[in-house]
């Protein structure tokens, strides 16, 4: 296990919006099958970090390697990289004009060029994997938030990604719907998926995360096993933040 190269390797990553530097030198390796949990105050740069990993945001400086590919190289076909990095958004971002199956099938058809029957079969499997086999014909507005987010996860999984990035996947959900999405993520981890998760679900982090990364003001302040970061944080900033989310 120790000899395997990291799936994701970030070095000296910097990102500025205008004069504001939002990421100030991030170094992070994510190992195969690892679940890395990212926490931090609002505005600390967590989303920006994830979005740089598939170049939805263009980094200002530094390097990012994904599965051996330098994703910032101008020679890299970014679309080819993106289909191997799943991304799950806070607001699901399902296509409202397509059914659940249609959402899952779009990239299968348009990017992987699968024929209709094969795409339908893969979409069916992906939806079954998130517990929504019976919802393939439903439109997003006919689904609960939790179901929509699971369709979004199926959409990412259908492309057989090497890793999946989650940006606050449960923040937009009513509390009673959070569990179903976390369950899917637990199953994914069980199946050995490499995951980077931005979230404040501490219970989930304690149960499922291999490592917790605490970010503040564009830097990684502290990282370690969940019990250490949540139970005995070394830095005052981490302690203050952890206390604050425990109280909520």
């Amino acid at each position: 296990m120790t000899r395997e190269p990291p799936v994701l390797s970030i070095r000296g990553l910097r990102k500025s919006f205008g004069a504001v530097e939002v990421l100030r030198g991030i170094d992070l390796d994510v190992q195969p099958r690892e679940l890395v949990f990212v926490i931090g105050p609002s505005g600390s740069g967590k989303s920006t970090l994830l979005r740089c990993c598939n170049r939805l945001e263009e980094p200002s400086n530094g390097s990012i390697h994904f599965d051996g590919t330098d994703i910032l190289s101008p020679r890299t076909d970014i679309n080819a990289v993106r289909r191997r990095i799943g991304m799950v958004f806070q607001n699901f971002n399902l296509y409202p004009h397509m059914t659940a199956a249609g959402n899952v099938m779009l990239a299968l058809r348009q990017v992987l060029k699968k024929d209709r029957r094969e795409a339908e079969a893969i979409a069916g499997e992906a939806l079954a994997r998130v517990g929504l086999a019976d919802k393939r014909g439903a439109y997003p507005n006919e689904l609960s938030g939790g179901q929509q987010q699971r369709v979004a996860i199926a959409r990412a999984l259908a492309l057989e990604p090497k890793a999946v990035l989650f940006d606050e996947p449960t923040s937009a959900l009513d509390p009673e719907l959070v569990g179903s999405v976390l369950q899917v993520m637990r199953d994914l981890r069980q199946a050995g998926m490499t995951m980077v998760v931005v979230s404040h679900e501490m219970g989930f982090a304690r149960a499922a995360a291999d490592r917790v990364v605490f970010m503040d003001q564009g830097e990684i302040v502290e990282q370690g096993p969940p019990d250490t970061v949540f139970g005995a944080p070394r830095h005052a900033r981490t302690r203050a933040f952890v206390e604050q989310i425990v109280r909520h």
Binding site: L56, N79, F89, A107
Partner: protein, 223 residues
């Protein structure tokens, strides 16, 4: 003095004028079939180019759209047909009409489609790109279908205006429906052909007006 019916609703004259008017209608439909797709294509180009982050690309587009939306189409048409020859450019009635209407309608469609594209949340493009779709495919499969749906009443309304606009071609002697009716009127010394043309316009456009009305209601109800 002849009665109202005999003057305005003279069936014998209408019957005689009908084949002539139908020929005009055919030209009108031909114009619509030419101007609407071209206008939509031009408008789409405007709307897509407008997404450029470069100000140098965007502001000429704003200028284009504003200019041709503000310019009265009748003035534009007469300028192209009667003004350009003074510069040695004889372009003929049909070309003048095609160019004039293209400039006008592409500006309107461009504005409508631009608003439609902007009404689609940013996350839609990001979700599509994150699955590996190219910008073009994401636009075609994810953004445009939603954009069109969001501005469908405006698109239909705009198309209605284009059909009405074609009657302006009569002033440069293009033998469309209104021109045919005017000809028939002056040959018969009777306005009934004009009335008949009005009826034909109404029959042609009324279904679209109904459709528009229903779309507008549906949009309001969905809000």
């Amino acid at each position: 003095m002849p009665g109202f019916a005999e003057t305005f609703l003279n069936l014998a004259i209408m019957q005689a004028a009908l084949p002539y008017l139908l020929q005009g209608l055919w030209t009108t439909l031909l114009l619509v079939a030419l101007v609407v797709p071209l206008g939509i294509a031009g408008g789409l180009a405007v709307a897509l180019l407008y997404r450029s982050p470069r100000r140098r690309v965007r502001w000429p587009l704003i200028l284009y759209v504003d200019f041709f939306r503000a310019f009265p189409p009748l003035v534009l048409l007469i300028f192209l047909y009667a003004g350009l020859p003074f510069a040695g450019l004889e372009i003929g009635a049909f070309t003048a009409v095609a160019i004039g209407f293209f400039l006008n309608t592409s500006a309107y469609y461009g504005e409508v489609l631009r608003a439609g594209i902007e009404s689609v949340p940013r996350g839609q493009m990001e979700a599509a790109r994150s699955t590996g779709l190219s910008a073009g495919r994401a636009m075609a499969w994810v953004i445009l279908p939603q954009a069109v749906r969001n501005v469908l009443p405006d698109l239909v309304g705009n198309t209605l205006e284009v059909v009405k606009l074609t009657s302006l071609a009569s002033v440069v002697a293009l033998p469309e429906l209104l021109f045919a009716a005017r000809q028939a009127q002056s040959l018969t010394y009777n306005p009934s052909p004009i009335v008949l043309a009005a009826v034909i316009y109404f029959v042609l456009l009324w279904p679209f007006v109904r459709l528009l009305s229903r779309l507008e209601h549906r949009m309001l109800a969905a809000r």
